[in-house]
Structures are given as C-alpha cells and as structure tokens.
Subunit: 310 residues, 4 copies
C-alpha cells in the first residue's frame, strides 16, 4: 500500500472517499425482494494473503450475491472438468448485455463466457453431473460455508422464489441453449439450481473471505486448503478481468485494474493477485448493472494502493 | 523469474519450447508485401525495467508492425487529449472481428475501442490535430525513434502503398465513421496516416525497447524519459489486456495473462508490469489473426516466469 | 387461365410438370412424427371463387399444417381486435429465419410479423382472451371445420405431444416475449394452444377450401359466410406475400407471385385474389424450410395461368 | 375503378383526400439541395394501360427521383444479364434501414436486394459493363427520355455534386462491397454513376409515364416498345412489393397493396398491374424515409379503386 499505514486505515479512507455518493444509482427492481433494499448502504471488507482483515460500513450486512456466485461455480467446475469445459462455453468478452440472446443464436447455443447468464447456466449444468437440484444447491452452499468457515450461509428463499416466478429471460436463455443440446439436464432443474445460487446471501466479510484463494494462487492461506490449482486461479482471474462486468468490463479494467465480478444485488468481489481479496457492496447500480458506488470504491482503493494489476 | 537463472536462459528456453512449431499458421495474404514473408521465422526480445536485455531467433529482423502501432498512437493521443478521447471512442472489448462494421452502425459511429481498426482511425484522426499526413507520420516515426534511440526506423513504402491500394474495408470503416461526423479530417488524409503507421517496420529488439515505458509506469527506465503518466500507462495496459487481440482477447488473457497487442504482420508486444517489455514475432497467424507461434511463446514465457498479472 | 381449358387439366399439367422431382428436399426431422413421413408424396388442390374444384396426386392425404395455421388464427384475431393488434406485433418481413430471436431482443419483445414463430405466439395469446387452452384449441378446430364443412378435422395428438416435448426454441421465444410483457397468458398455456394448432392435420382439398375466403374478399363464395371483411382479407394476403415464407418470402414472390403461407409439414396455401385458393403439399423442404416441390408446383401454376398478382 | 366515373375525377378525389395533410413529414435534409425544397407540395399523375392520363396538384413540378431510379437501372440490367444478376445480389426484404451495412457484413458483400443502397450499387456496377461513368449516365438518361418521349429529362447538377460531397455512407457501402470483390469497377466510378442517377429530376407526369411498361407486362402500350419481357416486368413488380419501401415495405403492402418504389426526394412510383402506372410526390417523409403524404394518397387511391393486387 502506497499511502496507508494499515489496512483499517485504508478501508476507512476508501469509505470516506465515497461517503458522499452512497445512495446513488438505481436498485435492481426486477424482483420485489431486491427492489425493497435500502440504497443508502455501503460495505467494504478486505482480507490479505497474510490473513489480515479490515472492514467498514455495512460490511456485516448480508445481501444477495447474485452473479458473484458464478465465480464459485466456475471454480468448482474447472477443477473437475478442466479445459473440456471450453468445448461448451467460450471465454471471450461478449460485447453485449448480461442477458443478451443475440450471440447465442449466432454462435449456436455456445455462450460467450461463464459470467453472462447464458454461460452460467451451462456452468451450472456441468456442475450438476446427473444429480438433483437439491444436492447441487447444497454442494454450492457447502463450498461457500467451507471457504468462510461459517455454516450459517444460506440462500434467501424469497429471492429464489421471486427469481423463479419472474425469470422469463433466463428461462428463455436456458431453453435456447437446450435447443442446441448444450444443456444435459432438464431446463427446470438447471434453472432451479441457478436461481438458488443467485439467491445466496452473504456479507462483505464473508464474500471477501470466500474469494481469498483466488488472490493466493488457489491455496487458501488461512485454512491451508488447496481450493484450486494456481493455474486455475489465475485463469479465473483472467476471465473475471475480461468478462466480469458484462459490457462494462473494459471500463472496470481501465478504472480499477483488478479482476472482479459484480452482481445485480450490488456486490462486487475483486481480487488483487498475491495481495488481497476485496468485497464491496452498495445496492445502487450504474447503467451496465454494476454497483455504482462499489465500482467507485474499488477505483479509489487501487488509486490509493497501487494494487492495479497493470 | 521462477525457473530461469538469467534472462538469456529464459529466451533460449522459450525459443526451444516453440521451435518445433515455427512455420505453423497462415501468413496474412491481403497484400503481396505481407504474403511473401517466409513463415518459418520467429524472434523474441525482452527488456526488463532494470534495462537488462535478451533476444533469440530472428529478433533482429524487421517486420511490419501493423496494429501494434495502435499502442503508440494511443499513448500519444491520451497524453494530449486525456479522458476527452473517450467521448469519441469506447474502451470495451468488441466481441467482434478486427474489421467489423456491425457495432459501428449500432453505436452510431463510435468505435468500441482503440485497438480495432475503426477505433484506431479515430485515434489517428485525433492525433492529426489539423496537421498534414506527412507531418503526423513523421511525428509517429519520431516517437518510435526516440523510444528506441534508433533513427533508422522507417515505414515500408511498398507495404504502405499496398495497404492504400487494397484497403477497401478500412476505407469503408473510415467513411462510415465520417458519416457520423466522428472524423474531423478528410477520409483520405486519415487513411494516409493510418496506412503508413501500419507499414512501419521494426525488429523485436526495437519493439520491446519502444514499449518499455508501459512496463515501468510510463517512465522509460533506460533514458529516463517520462513518456506517459503512470495512470496513462496502466490504463493503456488495461485496454491492451481487454481488447488487444480482437475477438481472441479473452483467450490471450486466459492463456498468457499479460497485456498485449498483436498485428497481422505476426508481431506481438506484451507488457509484464513492473518487470519487462517483451516482443515476439512469427508471421503465421491463427484464426483470429494473431501470431500463432508468438502467442504460444508468450504462454510459455508466463508459465516459466509467473509473470502473469493474475 | 391462359393455356388450360379446364381446371382438371391445369392441376394434371402442374402435377406432370413436377412429377420428376417429387421426393426432393429434406423432410423436417425435429420431431419423429414428421421425420417418418414418406417424402415421395405430392398433392395439389384448387378451388375457384366460382366453387369449381380440381385436385391431383395425394390431395386427399392429411398432413400436419404446421405454420399454415397462422393464417387462420390471424384471421380470427384481426376480425376481433382490428388494427390494435399491431400495437403488439409488426407486419414487416423479418429478413431472418422463422425461429430467430435476434430481432426480438433488438425490438424489445415485439415480433416482426405474425408469420414467424414469435409473432404467431402473440397472435395466439391475443386469441386466447382469458380462456383455457382447451377452449381455444376447440375454437380453432371449429373455425376450420366450419370453413371446410368437415367435422372430422382434428389435430394429430402424437405431433402435438412431440412439439411440446422438443419445442425448446419456441419455449425460449415465448419466455422471451413474456419477459417484455407481450404475452398476457401463462407461457405454458400459450404454447399448449400453439403446439396444437400446428399439429392440426388437413388434406390439400380441405386446406384449399378453408382458405377460399381469402381469394374472395373475405366472403366464402360456397357457403356465403362472411369470414372476414374485404379489407381484412386483402391485408392478410399482403402479409402472406411479404412474410409468408420466412426469409425466402422475396424469392416466393419473385418466382410464384402469389400470397402464400408455408408450413414445415410441407404444405403451402396460396391465394390468387379474385380467382382461386390453392393448396399444395410435398414433405421435402428447401433450405429456407418451405416445401421444395410445392413451391415449384406453384411456380408452374402461375406460369401456366398468369395468375401472378404482378 | 369502383367509385369514380373517370380518371380525372379519381385524381381530384385523392388530391382532396390528402389536401389537409400536405406539408406533414420531414424533408430529407442530408444535402442542402433537398433540404430547401418546400414541403407544402403534392403531385399525382396516373396513366392507364389504355394510355389515358390524369394529374393533379404539382404533377408538373420536377423533383429529385433519388431511389426511384433503382427500378429503371434494375430493368436495364435484368434484361441484359437475366437471372445471373442474382449471383451477386439477393431479392429478399432486408428487415433493415435503406443504408444499413450490418447484413452486408454477415452476408459477405452480397446485398439483400436491389432497392437498398448497397444493392443498387451492385446493379449500377453491372450496368456499367466496363464503360465510363459518363456513358452510363447518358444511357440511363436515354432510357428515361425514350420512356417518356421527353428529351428534356436531366440530372440536377447541384444535387449530384452534393451527393458526392456528403455521401460518406454510400462511399462506405461501396468500399465494403468492393472489399468482398462484388464491384468490378473503381468505387469512385460506380459512385459517380449512382450519385447522378439519384439526382435525375422528373415530374409526376414523366415518372408515371416512364413506369407504364411495368403495368403492362413489359410492353409500353403507348409507343409499342417492348421494354422488358412480361416475366421481367412481373418480377420487378414482385421485388418492388417486397422491398420497395425499405423496412416499411410490409406496411406499404398492407396499407396500399401495390408494388411501389419510393425515393427520399418524396416521390413514389406505384404499379397497378394490368391497369395503370401512378406517380405521387410530396417532399415530407415518414420515419422510414418514404413520402408521408404520397403513401397516404396511394392508400386512398386503392381504397377508392380496388386496385390493390390483393
């Protein structure tokens, strides 16, 4: 860190940097459970590869992690299936919105990358491996509970139900992929898992902790677990950097300079390789569907620390 | 470097890694001057932030830098115009081929990023600033001669003439952008500069040297010149990583993990921030138009050194 | 008719014209019930505005009318809703395949025209008007039974079930439209009706008879029923001519010169305004999904009769 | 005619029908020569296959025929090259705006139809047949002078010059097509002819007279000239009906029911096969770039006469 003596000072400084803008942006309103979240909230938590932690603001408030979950299912799948995953899925930025179906038609049911919705559905389908939705949802929860050493992490049942009731666009994507035979399980089962993984609720503290292995070449430095190979961790970071913020991924790389994955719940997990895992949360979104104040906080963080990978 | 005692050993090892594949890929054939290049060539040159250099293979053979030139014109423009550049140009991966015109129509003449052809034409237009093509071409050459301390760098007149004679697609792009009033100079003048900047011939040694400022936060560590601010250098690296290899940028980030910019002449400039600038060259291209063996060499380089930014 | 003394001679001559090509094309294979149809079949039936009829070949064999059903549901809906229908649906050629979803995204859930699958789903949704699928299916069957004075017309249960089991692409389209709130009924109900209307089985004789009102300004000249206003009939003919053959509509207009609507079962209903209604059937399809020999027969018919509207 | 005793009464009635709306719409403003035209003008002229004529309003005022010229160059080319033309050009509605370049990229330089700008450039290229622009422009003028028996028809030099100076989008299209080797002549020569053919000035009387062969199976009934075969005439009418009004072709077929071709100068040539050739003109355009009041007048005309082909 270039201009902060300690981690606590850093998060406090970043918090102060963005304090005047908390509440900006537009809360996701496609389901009631998200629409009713108070936009005037902001949390940040950092955990370093040495295990040092610091947090500020609403870092202990649980929020819907939504698409941030895609990072963890990708990890689980890549470790099992390896490079064969890429026969069913690309790893290129899409140049399109998160829920676009256009490229799916042009590229015959092969999603551009695992971080747009279409791609995450394929990832989830691979993860299922013939098992029931309930078992797979439990496995995802188990992964996150183990990463955080916190057995209380759960999905928000109301959010999951709302997603299922209103998820016409995701249902459209899943059927479209299925039409090209790129889903092996019943559409409803894949969506069941997908809607539940998106509905998982975590705090900034938990989220930063869960992603720490990505900052440390796949090895969790706190509990010593080998979560992924160093190569897998680096590769997931690469996909996060090029594809993690939908059609604003280039802008995030330009302004923040860290691999990151956002969710419409307002959370962002960012990775400073060899240094730290960072989670920010603020519900108001920018036009591309990423947390407005969260992005800003990360921009301030790298400006203050020089943690940009570039 | 994780497993090489010295830089010379590293480049020799990488050279050996790819030796069996030199000649693979398809040489660009859209102009005779490129089509006649012998594909069985490969060069690599590295220069570190400490000024240490090493090279192997055909690192002293000049080749047409083509789109690698876009990195240097972007530097020149960003230092002058700053963030205002982005009013006329995006910085998002396009998800499309280097010469695609589709998004240009959908986004009303604003190119997605400065590294696709359409975007480079806008960059060149900004650089011109009311001056004649001849003066601007000289300025670009001057920039590269100063960066390399080598006054012999020049453009290949035959290549420039061929580009002008056959560049219908680029002429189409330029007129399209002009139709949306996003070029200020006459189309023929902008193309004149563009075709000449693409026709500049450099060796791997020269190219690695020229890009060194990007590895060192904008300050050339050899001659002490402040070429760009640290922020500008980081930002150019970010754009290189997300957009530097057209619709294979995600794949390059995944496999290599370094900011890089390729050209259809077979050259690639890659930046290992805070470590080194690397140039590779081999004329055979992969399906996305990037040097097949050059990409492979860089993949081996980061596997051997751990220089991936991730 | 320019060169046929009587209608029977005409259909015999057209039959002879195409006899050598019966069996060409590729039978629709997306559901088993269609895939197993013998391609070496061809039927043609004509009924004039004076009530004269003639038929040849397999004109008495029932086939799956598939998308030809869209003409009848459009009639039913336009008579009820009138021009308000076009607030939810376009009437422009799509320039795309029958099951494309691209324009649906660009135009926010408003299908280009009622004859692509997306548009037919909206038409069906309008027709439902709050009623159950069963009632609406019965109403469509009732319409066709009344038009043909033949109470035996029914849907093929095996085809309907197969469509439902494998209709992932239609399910995707319906959910996509629903996401933009352009379906009022549950997606499964709309699809239920749609799959059944496509599974209706009719012979060429029945189909030509059913469409006769379109050739006679909306008034069925045989039973005297006013099926649609003259304006509605002309307008449906116009939509058939510009949109009736998916992305080969221009080619059909160029070669045949009649309003027509094809189905992937191999049937085509063509209308010669003020003269006759014609149905042809042959299961082999061309690349655009229209009956290859059926199109050819209609081309020969207009060449022999001068019935082209142009 | 269903409700008019004579042709003069018909044009007077149609004129009266639209009188209150003359001046509506937006005059084309991309070149000064068009932008300065007074929008409060309307002309209509009809000539029947029996040679009877009638006109009303500003039917004797010359206007820039613009894209209506595409009908005549298509006639000239189809008579010479025949069906081989379609190897370089489609005849399907594009579903896109008149100057779209998107499909041109997807379909590798083969324009969708001869009535969008890209297609007309190919038609013009075919017409040139190795000759100089001057000779080809004279040939087009000669064709129109012969059709109208009026040697005074000429192009508007100011309009032609303005088109050339500001035609960046057409220049882009031409270069794009040339990149796919679908233009045989120099881009500047093809554009030279194209800009001049668009700049031809004609009155409604002249335009209706010029198109009469299309209403009479290719034979001009007044001077007895065989301008095109009956088949060619019918086929041009078919292309006019499906493609003559860009992405509002379906709407024109629906509302008017006649083959027609519009130009951004506000003129429309419409053909009532076996009955009459009709020209209308009013400079104000609708959103799709077709004459607003001209379209309305034709809608009234077919409502009054029953001349719809449907």
């Amino acid at each position: 860190m270039s201009d902060s003596n300690d981690l606590a000072g850093l998060v406090a400084a970043v918090h102060a940097d963005v304090a005047g803008r908390i509440g900006e942006g537009r809360v996701a309103d496609y389901i009631p459970a998200l629409a009713k979240v108070d936009p005037k909230q902001f949390g940040i938590a950092i955990i370093t590869c040495e295990g040092e932690t610091a947090a500020a603001g609403d870092a202990g408030t649980a929020f819907s992690i939504q698409s941030v979950s895609k990072v963890f299912t990708l990890t689980m799948v890549l470790e099992r299936l390896g490079e064969k995953l890429w026969e069913r899925l690309g790893r290129e930025p899409s140049g399109s919105a998160f829920n676009s179906i256009v490229q799916l038609e042009q590229e015959r049911g092969v999603p551009r990358n695992p971080f747009i919705n279409a791609g995450a559905l394929v990832t989830t389908d691979v993860l299922m491996a013939g098992r029931s939705p309930r078992i797979v949802i439990d496995e995802i929860l188990g992964f996150l509970r183990e990463r955080t050493d916190d057995g209380s992490i759960a999905f928000d049942a109301e959010v999951a139900r709302s997603e299922a009731e209103t998820g016409f666009r995701n249902r459209s994507l899943a059927n479209f992929i299925r039409a090209f035979r790129n889903l092996a399980h019943p559409v409803d089962d894949v969506l069941d898992v997908y809607f539940h993984q998106c509905a998982i609720a975590m705090t900034c503290r938990q989220l930063a902790r869960a992603g720490l292995y990505l900052a440390n070449a796949g090895l969790d430095p706190v509990d010593g677990d080998r979560v992924a190979s160093g190569e897998t961790a680096r590769r997931i970071n690469a996909v996060m950097l090029t594809c993690g913020h939908y059609d604003a991924s280039g802008d995030f790389a330009y302004r923040v300079g860290l691999p990151g994955k956002s969710g419409v719940g307002g959370g962002i997990l960012a990775i400073a390789p060899r240094r730290a895992s960072i989670a920010v949360w603020s519900p108001g979104l920018n036009a591309a569907g990423n947390s407005l104040v969260g992005s800003l906080a990360l921009e301030r963080l790298t400006a203050r620390t020089g943690w940009s990978v570039f």
